[in-house]
Amino acid sequence: MEKDFIVRTKNVDFFYGAFRALSDVTVDFEKNKVTALIGPSGCGKSTLLRLLNRMNDLIDGTRVEGEILLEGRNIYAPDVDPVEIRQRIGMVFQKPNPFPKSIYNNITYAPKLSGIVDSEEIEALVEESLRQAVLWDEVKDILTKSAMTLSGGQQQRLCIARALAMKPDVILMDEPSSALDPISTAKIEELIDTLKKHYTIIIVTHNMQQAARISEYTGFFYLGKLIEFNATEKIFTNPDVKQTEDYITGRFG
């Protein structure tokens, strides 16, 4: 069967001012799979992730070259509205960042922006998103409480639910469990496993075991270059490139 690539990058270079953070990155992300991005600190993983939903637009003095395609359309074409791209590609950050609003209003933020006003529809969406993020049972009685009162792990699942409520096609996760304890981390990993039925997930992680456990594909970055991209199993058992092997076995640098 022909593989269905939802997001592809072609020869992407990215600059913060004069500093080149990514060089010639070409990578295809398969639909409804989990792809992990690994590599040492500062190699450009977050930069690539933030390029995919145009979050880097918010930083002054940046420049992109090459093409990034979402279902065949270049998302950096002049006629593309970054807001529309961000609605289709959700993002979960390293540090849980719920709004200082009620749990309910955190979830309804994106749907209300996109113009959903029917209160039954919104209520259903809140429940569905929280269930998908496996948070419903814990918060169903405290929906009006401030999201700030939740634990870090609950906050991160709330942030995932908040992104899901937008009904995105792709979810980007930048080290989503690095600020969490092992139990919360395990919950997030389980969650990712169930989410991939409906969503394409691209996740940055520093945790090799995590990458090996949850992803189908893994890309290894070093100094702004994609060194190797392969099936996760291959990367972790028999990588093609020596640098990759050195990195995942901890013999790096």
Binding site: M55, E84, R86, F93, N97, F99, L113
Partner: protein, 302 residues
């Protein structure tokens, strides 16, 4: 032995420094206390002559008549009216300029605006009063065909000019203090810049903005020179915003010089000072309460 002596002197030095700082901190508290005692000592004797209710709600202020009347209700209304209309102008302008400076303006314009607002804050109130008397007053009089251009409207505009820098700069700090993560989360959820400002940044800064508004109000109600010069000075309850009023501060400033020492009039002016003090104190307490309350819950239910 020598060593120990050294550390001992170092220790005494630290104690000395601590006490010095403590002394100066205590000095300001002491001064405040003394002023308060003085204010009450000179003001309270009035209530041997008239009741508190007659003083606060009496509608006639004829302190030099025989018999004198010390009803400060028109003065209270005057103060509240100019403050209210000043806020009506200064609150939106102050907040909008803060939002513009903190979130929207490009670098160059931002710096210029900030320094202009700082200059505005540094403008001596007597200069502003002069401007109100000589420029705004006659203009109002002619444009609206009024008996006098020195009225609530004029005072409100001048007070607004004085309150805007306070409101703007404190709101601006509150906006800067909103964590970057909230903005990123909002953008990542497909919000535009303006949706982010209105739905995330302003609500998250609301406690600071409320404090700014209340401190701006306190500034307006306590201001003396401007209202003395442009409010018109009539101690009557106003019926329109083009009526002249005599705010409490203006009354105290204008009359204190001519009130005989420890006369009824003298005590009445101090008692007016007490009322003013209580009102500003209330504003400050409210500002404090709001900023604490929001801090605890992170404006959770907004």
């Amino acid at each position: 032995m020598k060593n120990r002596k050294h550390s001992l002197t170092k220790h005494t030095k630290e104690i000395a420094i601590r006490n010095l700082f403590g002394f100066f901190a205590f000095l300001s508290v002491l001064l405040f206390g003394l002023i308060l005692v003085f204010l009450f000592r000179e003001g309270l004797p009035l209530f041997k002559q008239i009741s508190v209710t007659d003083f606060l709600f009496g509608t006639a202020w004829y302190p030099t008549y025989e018999p004198p009347e010390y009803g400060i209700w028109p003065l209270i209304v005057g103060s509240l009216a100019v403050t209210f209309f000043a806020c009506l102008i200064a609150v939106p302008l102050g907040i909008l300029s803060a939002v513009y400076i903190a979130e929207i303006a490009p670098g160059g314009i931002k710096e210029i605006l900030k320094s202009v607002i700082e200059l505005l804050a540094g403008l001596p109130s007597v200069v502003l009063g002069f401007f109100g008397m000589v420029i705004v007053g006659p203009w109002l009089q002619e444009t609206f065909d009024l008996p006098t251009g020195l009225n609530i409207m004029n005072a409100a505009v001048m007070l607004a000019i004085m309150a805007i820098p306070t409101i703007s700069s404190i709101s601006e700090d509150a906006l800067y203090a909103v964590p970057r993560e909230f903005k990123e989360a909002s953008y990542a959820l497909g919000a535009t810049k303006y949706e982010t400002i209105i739905r995330v940044i302003i609500p998250a800064a609301l406690s600071g903005i409320s404090t700014a508004v209340i401190l701006g109000m306190a500034r307006a109600i306590g201001e003396t020179m401007v209202v003395l010069m442009v409010a018109g000075g009539a101690a009557a309850i106003p019926e329109s915003i083009f009526d002249a009023v005599r705010p409490m501060t203006a009354s105290i400033a204008a009359e204190m010089g001519e009130a005989p020492f420890r006369s009824g009039h003298y005590h009445a002016l101090f008692a007016t000072g007490i009322v003013l003090f209580v009102i500003t104190l209330a504003f400050n307490l409210i500002a404090d309460y709001i900023s604490n309350r929001f801090r605890e819950t992170g404006s959770g239910t907004l």
